[in-house]
Amino acid sequence: MKDNWGRILFYVIILALQIVLSGYVNIGPYIYLCCLPLLVIYLPLDQETGVSMIIAFACGLIVDFLCDGIMGLNAAAAVALAAVRKPLYAACFSKDNLERAVIPTIQEAGVLRHINFILVSLAVYFIVYICLDSVGMESLTTTLLRFVLSCAANLVLILALDYSMFNSRR
């Protein structure tokens, strides 16, 4: 029960942070700071993928609605990430973790593995996000630059959040 409340609090904090980032932090057209992928990554592993996708969709919609962006943009990216989350866990960490429904900490999994996992997750998220946002209106160079810079900036952000919120708690 306590764990559930902790989880809900975590979701609320992430959503609030995302709203602050979207509303008040603007660091140019190439970088979109987004901590929503962290929320999707840390959805319970023993949960059905369908349910995870619905939660990711709802959280994405809240962010889209409150941040005055295009409705559905973050939701579509979050749903895509939720859909491939489990196979990504299986590929990046040991299958044992997936079977025990345990998300390893940075110390348990190793920094490189953890970075690798978060980077791939961000790549999935931003491929969908940038594709739907630019819909072929931007040049390939701009799109790639936007993708690389957003992934890099958000990797730092998510690693920092991850470390501060989970590792300190564990």
Binding site: G50, M53, I54, F57, M71, A76, V79, A83, L132
Partner: protein
């Protein structure tokens, strides 16, 4: 997670994913002009491509029907053409009613041979469709044969590729005529025999039906001269390259001379008079 429940669960997951993504895309399209323009454009392009493919597939399967319609149309045009051919050149002598001398019936070849000395064809029109013995069978590329026997719905045609078959043909340039027959060797060649030495024939000249028999209408192009052979210094035999490829025949027209009975009765009567 094995067997049917896993399969159902995976299917449900995929369906939920598709439904949520579609919902997102609909929302994006409804909330942004640029995205709407691009997404709807993409959807329309996909639709157009799908319709094009569907239409292509449908056309492929209706080719037979289209072919039959074209054959029918050709038949009608031939009928109309023969009507105009019957019009006399002198306008004062125009009759009030213009009967067509030839009528045409489209038919499809059911079976045919072209590798023997005595080839034949079986067509899918018979007595019920007005086909009778002795009628000619043609295509736009020349003479095909003569109906030899008919059943209710089929007719047996003796092919022009038959060494015992000959037709009356003429040189288009000079109107000299003779009998054209197949020599039994090459299905693409025939010989026009007993043409006058002074006809002025040259290789490449066109040959058409003469219309001197009551079977085939005149002026159906049949081929071109490919070789000229003088025979005993008396006349010429002309080797003809046939237009008609008998190895790829499918649709033909059975041509009926509407005055044939009258013509034959007259000829028979004359022959009887001569015998007396």
């Amino acid at each position: 997670m094995t067997g049917r429940p896993a399969l159902v669960r995976n299917a449900v997951t995929v369906l939920v994913f598709i439904a949520l993504e579609v919902l997102c895309i609909v929302m994006i399209a409804n909330n942004s002009v640029v995205q709407r323009y691009k997404i709807l454009g993409g959807i329309r392009e996909a639709q157009a491509s799908l319709w094009q493919r569907t239409s292509d597939i449908r056309s492929y399967f209706s080719l037979r029907k289209d072919n039959l319609a074209l054959v029918q149309e050709n038949e009608d045009l031939r009928r109309q053409l023969s009507l105009y051919e019957a019009i006399p050149t002198d306008p004062d002598s125009l009759p009030s009613h213009l009967p067509s001398l030839y009528s045409y019936t489209a038919a499809e070849i059911v079976k045919s041979t072209h590798g023997k000395q005595h080839n034949y064809l079986l067509i899918n029109k018979g007595a019920r469709q007005g086909i009778g013995e002795g009628m000619g069978v043609i295509t736009a590329n020349g003479v095909v044969g003569i109906v030899d026997a008919v059943s209710d719905n089929y007719a047996y045609v003796i092919s022009f590729l038959n060494t015992e078959q000959s037709i009356s043909a003429r040189l288009v340039k000079s109107d000299h005529f003779g009998l054209m027959r197949w020599e039994g060797v090459n299905p693409h060649k025939a010989t026009l025999t007993e043409i006058s030495l002074y006809c002025g024939a040259a290789e490449g000249d066109s040959v058409a039906t003469s219309g001197h028999s009551s079977i085939f209408p005149p002026d159906i192009p049949v081929g071109v001269i490919s070789k000229i052979k003088p025979v005993s210094g008396l006349y010429l035999n002309l080797e003809i390259d046939l237009f008609q490829d008998f190895t790829s025949l499918r649709h033909v027209y059975v041509v009926a001379n509407n005055d044939r009975e009258e013509i034959e009765a007259l000829v028979n009567e004359e022959e009887k008079e001569e015998k007396k």
